[in-house]
Symmetry: C2
Subunit: 207 residues, 2 copies
């Protein structure tokens, strides 16, 4: 269908908005995809696996990769580095895959600046701040302090929704996943400006 | 899902690319939609119905409506006027419908300028100019002269693909329709900048 290969789908939104379930559904329903795994210097937690939840590296290693410009984007959050390595993303794009990012508004900003041409972005949120509070308390994985930090971050992030292409309010996980699968399919058809000329030449060539 | 109501989907592309079949499929699969019917001063043809294929009006009537600024966009093509009336579009948007336009690149330009905020646009084409030629000859509804005009117009139009959000190459009508249904679903989630502030206020209000 699409002669042009590889596209990026950025998902942002507060922790608790249901991103992980939605991403699982996208990966199930459309292929081939590459879900970008972040690299971090924060300590590994119980239940986490290196290479699945994050690539866990030392501060020294991370700083060396920054110097070598190996990151598509990175940020220092509460003393720990978080970043996205460029090389697996490039490889996946070359293979025509849809690269999915679960990153914050800062990360989205960086991806837009470098690869905006092939990027579709979605902000996913709960119907209200109240509902986000309720969900974070219900899943009871976080301390009160972490929950408050998450809520403050959410308040700051929703102020930047207008930087995204789409807004999806997750008040029903089935409906929200269905919409995201549609957006992901559409994302593959996004027109990379650089390749338009090539397409047009090819289109006319055979006549 | 989407608190924000109404969105626009513009489909452009050469006659013969399969737009009509695709639009029928979109209307079947997602609702509620409003398919915008153009107004024209060209004579009605055998098999055409007023209010279905076009709204047929006189030159005087059309010019009066231009003066009254009743058109979202209009153009003079080979001596005949073609245009889109603004008022039914506004009404449909108010009712939260997805408004679908089958218009050329000029029309798309006008819609982008006035309602770009809520507009998603797709250029639909055949895999090649050669294939377009073949399809136009096969459906044998047009004279050689008309076919040549269509091919010339197609060559000019593909030069402007980069003005569109998505490119869909229709080499399989089922797959192309499926993609368009996805794009149409996604189009409803597009973020109208003006309404973001309202959403954010409402989102925080209950806490």
């Amino acid at each position: 269908m699409n002669a042009l290969s590889g596209a990026i789908l950025v998902l942002s939104g507060p922790s608790g908005a249901g991103k992980s379930s939605i991403i699982a559904k996208i990966i199930d329903h459309i292929g081939p995809t590459y879900f970008s795994i972040s690299t971090t210097t924060r300590p590994i937690r119980a239940g986490e696996e290196n290479g699945i939840h994050y690539h866990f590296v030392s501060q020294e290693e991370f700083k060396r990769e920054i110097e070598q410009e190996l990151f598509l984007e990175y940020a220092l959050v509460h003393g720990n580095y978080y970043g996205t390595s460029l090389s697996p993303v490039k490889q996946a794009l070359k293979e025509g895959k849809l690269v999915i990012f679960d990153i914050d508004v800062q990360g989205h900003d960086a991806v837009q600046n470098r690869l905006g041409d092939i990027t579709t972005s979605v902000f996913i949120t709960t119907p209200s701040l109240e509902e986000l509070k309720r969900r974070l308390h219900n899943r009871s994985t976080d301390s009160e302090e972490i929950i408050n930090k998450r809520l403050e971050m959410a308040k700051r992030e929703v102020q930047r929704i207008s930087e995204y292409d789409y807004l999806v309010v997750n008040d029903d996980i089935e409906k929200a996943s269905d919409i995201l699968v549609s957006i992901a399919k559409a994302a593959r058809m996004k027109i990379p400006t650089l390749q338009i000329n090539e397409f047009v030449q090819h289109w006319e060539a055979q006549s």
